[in-house]
Amino acid sequence: EADIYQTPRYLVIGTGKKITLECSQTMGHDKMYWYQQDPGMELHLIHYSYGVNSTEKGDLSSESTVSRIRTEHFPLTLESARPSHTSQYLCASGENEQFFGPGTRLTVL
C-alpha cells in the first residue's frame, strides 16, 4: 500500500542535541515538503524538494536542514536543538495534491 511514513512520532530531547526526523514515501513522488505546525496554528512550509539533490527553503525561516539523496527519503536535521524548536513537524509528498504523514511531535527541554 502506497503511503508516507514519519519517525519518530514523538521525541523529547535536551537542548543542544542533534536530531534527525525521518520521512519516507512509497508513492514514487518527486515532490516532497516539510511543514511546521504549532498547536492550534497554521501549517508553515519550511523546506521542499522537487527531486533528488534538489532542496529549497520555504516561507518560514527554519534552522533545520534537509537532504534528498533518494526519491523516497527526505530527512530533516536540527544540528543543535533548542526549546524554540518545540513543535509538530509534518512531511508531505505529492505531484499536485499533497499527502501528509502522521507528523513528529518534537519537545526540546
Binding site: 514519519q6 515532490k31 515538503y33 492550534g40 496554528m41 497554521e42 501549517l43 508553515h44 512550509l45 521542499y48 522537487y50 520555504g58 516561507d59 509538530q88 509534518l90 508531505a92 505529492g94 505531484e95 499536485n96 495534491e97 499533497q98 499527502f99 501528509f100 504523514g101 502522521p102 507528523g103 511531535r105
Partner: protein, 111 residues
C-alpha cells in the same frame, strides 16, 4: 499580499445540524484550492481539490464549492465523527506546487 482566511475559527453543531465553513482568499492567480481534514495529533487528510469557479465536489456528507473569492465546505447532517479541524489551502500559478494554508475551522459535533 496573498491571504487565506477561514471562518469561523470554531463551530459547534448538534448531530444532524447542517452548516457551512468558509475559506476566503485574496491571491494573485489561483491555480487550485484544497480542503483537508486534520484530527488532533495527526497529519492533514486530503479531501478535495477545486480548480475553477462554479466547480463542486462531494464526498459522503461533505460538499465543497468554489467562487472567484471564496470556497465553502458544506456539511450535511453531520455526525460526531465529523469533528475535526478543516483546513483550506491555495496553490498559486507562480508558486510551483506549494500550498498556503488558512488557519482552519475547528468543528465539534455533539451527539
Amino acid at each position: 499580499e496573498d491571504q487565506v482566511t477561514q471562518s469561523p475559527e470554531a463551530l459547534r453543531l448538534q448531530e444532524g445540524e447542517s452548516s457551512s465553513l468558509n475559506c476566503s482568499y485574496t491571491v494573485s492567480g489561483l491555480r487550485g484550492l484544497f480542503w483537508y481534514r486534520q484530527d488532533p495529533g495527526k497529519g492533514p487528510e486530503f479531501l478535495f481539490t477545486l480548480y475553477s469557479a462554479g466547480e463542486e465536489k462531494e464526498k459522503e456528507r461533505l460538499k465543497a464549492t468554489l467562487t472567484k473569492k471564496e470556497s465553502f465546505l458544506h456539511i450535511t447532517a453531520p455526525k460526531p465523527e465529523d469533528s475535526a479541524t478543516y483546513l483550506c489551502a491555495v496553490q498559486l500559478n507562480n508558486a510551483g506546487n506549494m500550498l498556503t494554508f488558512g488557519g482552519g475551522t475547528r468543528l465539534m459535533v455533539k451527539p
